[in-house]
């Protein structure tokens, strides 16, 4: 009897215990993992003595030291040649692109022709003047007044005066033609767009054959060529206006590019913009309204491959020692 297995007394209790053990195991295994996880990618963070110290954070963008220069064209016309590519370093005065100068060259040729014509006229007039003067001198040197008639002398004097005035007129024409040529050359020069400073070409938005209008560079059109001095690069960091009082101006900032937050670069202070401006939102939507104003601080980056113009960065700047924390919301 005892050796017989009883369902109620043996199988059931043992089964129940096994069942509850499995249930307990399932419950414990099934408990949700509510622990916090370390971020898979490093978010931007303050490092070094800023990690636990007083600091001000800001976001910003990388820009050339010269800021971005939108190259415009003085005259409108067709682009005939673009001499630079994005990334090129150019010296000051180096030609960037050329606008169709055929009309100006025609004017120059015309003016040059006029110069030649005027010079010929001057030569002819000089010769005539010279002949007239010689003849007049000959008449004047004759002692015998009867040798030439009085009328001959008057005619000779008239010819000399006429030649002189023709010469003056021709000279005036020469001057006019020369200035016309100079004007044409200036125009040709104006149709050649040159680098205003030495720097790096950041963007080229014109191609040969395109028509450029003089208002290029402003308005809604993209600028023809963008360039700037990228050595060094600067960053423009937006600081919330409430935090302005806390920023230790002049101190170096720790900069991390977006998406590469493990990189921490020390940037030296350049200047603070005198004006507090509305914050430019990331969306740039036309409907965007703003109520946040920011102080823009400029920092110079050390040479680095990690930064590009226009890139967004996160910055940590030391706060003034003992500056009270703002409690404004």
């Amino acid at each position: 009897m005892l050796r017989n297995l009883s369902f109620a007394r043996q199988i059931l209790p043992v089964g129940a215990l096994i069942g509850v053990a499995i249930a307990v195991w399932l419950i414990l295994v099934g408990l949700p993992d509510r622990s916090t996880a370390a971020p898979a990618e490093q978010p931007p963070k303050a490092v070094g003595k800023l990690a636990n110290g007083e600091r001000v954070a800001g976001a910003g963008v990388v820009e050339p030291a010269s800021e971005v220069i939108d190259i415009g064209s003085a005259l409108s016309g067709l682009v005939t040649d673009v001499l630079v590519r994005p990334g090129d370093r150019v010296a000051k005065g180096q030609v960037l692109f050329l606008v169709d100068a055929r009309a100006a060259r025609a004017s120059l040729d015309q003016a040059n022709a006029a110069i030649g014509e005027a010079r010929a006229a001057i030569a002819e007039a000089s010769t005539a003047q010279k002949t007239a003067r010689e003849q007049l001198a000959l008449y004047r040197s004759l002692a015998d007044p009867a040798a030439v008639s009085r009328s001959e002398v008057i005619r000779a004097e008239g010819e000399e005066a006429a030649a002189t005035s023709r010469l003056g007129s021709a000279r005036a024409r020469l001057a006019a033609a020369q200035s016309a040529a100079a004007a044409a050359r200036t125009e040709i020069e104006r149709l050649t767009v040159r680098a205003p400073i030495s720097g790096e070409i950041l963007a080229v938005n014109v191609h040969p054959g395109e028509f450029v209008a003089t208002q290029g560079g402003g308005g809604s059109n993209s600028p023809f060529i963008q360039m700037g001095e990228t050595n060094p690069l600067h960053v423009r960091v937006d600081i919330d206006e409430n935090e302005i009082g806390r920023v230790a101006l002049g101190q170096p900032a720790v900069i991390s590019p977006r998406g590469a937050a493990e990189l921490h670069v020390n940037a030296t202070f350049v200047r603070a913009e005198p004006q507090v401006v509305p914050k430019r939102s990331l969306t740039n939507s036309a409907a965007e309204r703003v109520d946040v104003r920011v102080l823009q601080l400029i920092y110079a980056l050390p040479p680095s491959e990690a930064f590009r113009v226009g890139q967004q960065i996160d910055a940590f700047i030391p706060a003034k020692a003992g500056a009270p924390a703002k409690t404004e919301g």
């Binding site: 009883s6 509850v20 954070a57 935090e243």
Partner: protein
């Protein structure tokens, strides 16, 4: 004698299984209902648990939960980053939007914008695809419950196009997320995309998620953030609690489940009490004989205690096993997704079983103890 007690109990199989049923049913009812209750109200905190990296949540002072929030100016992020003890801080956007599916249907969705660079704020795991798909343009990642809601025909949502606020959004991944209380479809995308997907308002930043520096406590950092920025900062635990409290305060769920649990308890007391009393009354002559032969009252109490203990152990085990089987069995149902049995609940039902058996055993044993041994001669 305890061997005899157990024989006595199991010998009367009708009452034995009646007792087992009573205890098992009570345990099942209490455990299962409390489990569902806890899981249901914890859905209020799903938003918090779905962002596993954040140790502190910073929000506008009027924000209450992950779904009831008021946006902050974008510079709030920098203010939070300025607070000592904050190791990192990233923006987090949560907003409601309407999505137009490929079929042209309109569906309300929650759009969650996670940090652009680090994707902090995404659920821990992906059901399909890799987190990095979010770096592709116009990408959204849908949560797995959303798949069943939005693509009920079983088609794969990957590559499907949605229209959000006149913007194109392409589903490129499925996140393994805890569903929200309302089982809303959730679309995860990068913060900058989310700004486009959600109709514009002036301020868009719903939350700032904060990680704390080593050696700092979340509570300390949260307090410092509140002091220095004037924003509201809650630790992960507090904010999850706030979400749960919000559900509890704003729904009738606690009352409903409380009533069911109470009924389970009452049914347990009733079934077990009646059966146990009947069982002991049936055996009262035997108990009387034992008392006359020379078994002390304390041994009698031990015998009844062993009987109650056996019934309790088996019944409780069956109830717990039943609950686990229920939860596991319905685990594939989206409603039960992520349901788990908090370890405290089986302990609570164990305590309830002990109380049930103590009450009923106490009532039932009184008649046995009152029996005069002399009664066996009548």
């Amino acid at each position: 004698m305890l061997w005899i007690a157990i024989r006595m109990l199991t010998g009367d199989s009708q009452k034995f299984y009646g007792l087992l049923f009573g205890i098992a049913f009570s345990t099942l009812l209490i455990t299962q209902q409390m489990t569902i209750f806890v899981n249901l109200v914890e859905r209020g905190a799903s938003g918090v648990y779905n962002a596993p990296e954040a140790e502190v949540w910073v929000m506008d002072p009027v924000s209450r939960t992950t779904d009831v929030s008021y946006a902050m100016p974008s510079t709030a992020l920098d203010k939070v980053r300025s607070v000592p003890g904050v190791e990192w801080a990233v923006p987090h956007l949560r907003a409601q939007a309407n999505v137009r599916t490929a079929d042209g249907d309109l569906e309300g969705v929650a759009v969650i914008g996670v940090d652009d660079a680090t994707l902090i704020g995404l659920p821990k795991r992906m059901a399909t695809g890799d987190k990095n798909v979010l770096f592709a343009p116009d990408t959204v990642v849908i949560d797995d419950v959303g798949v069943t809601r939005l693509f009920s025909n079983g088609a794969s949502p990957l590559g499907e196009r949605l229209e959000l606020n006149d913007q194109r959004a392409v589903i490129r991944g499925i996140a393994d997320a805890i569903p929200s209380f309302t089982s809303t479809v959730v679309l995860y995308t990068r913060y900058s995309n989310a700004l486009n997907f959600v109709p514009g308002t002036r301020n868009r930043l719903s939350f700032v998620l904060v990680g704390i520096s080593p050696g700092q406590t979340a509570e300390g950092v949260a307090a410092r953030i509140e002091k220095e920025t004037g924003l509201k900062a809650e630790t992960r635990k507090e904010f999850a609690r706030a979400g749960v409290d919000f559900i509890i305060q704003n729904t009738g769920i606690p009352t409903n489940f409380g009533i069911t649990v109470f009924l389970g308890f009452v049914v347990g007391v009733a079934i077990v009490g009646l059966t146990f009393s009947l069982f002991l009354r049936d055996n009262i002559k035997q108990f009387g004989a034992l008392k006359a032969i020379g078994v002390t009252n304390s041994r009698i109490v031990q015998m009844v205690g062993v009987q109650a203990g056996l019934v309790g152990m088996i019944g409780y085990s069956l109830g717990v096993v039943g609950t686990v089987a229920f939860i596991k069995g319905f685990g594939s149902n989206p409603f039960f997704k992520g349901f788990y049995i908090p370890w405290q609940i089986p302990l609570i039902s164990l305590a309830a079983v002990v109380v049930i058996l103590a009450i009923t055993g106490f009532i039932a044993i009184r008649s046995v103890l009152r029996t005069e041994p002399a009664a066996v001669f009548r």
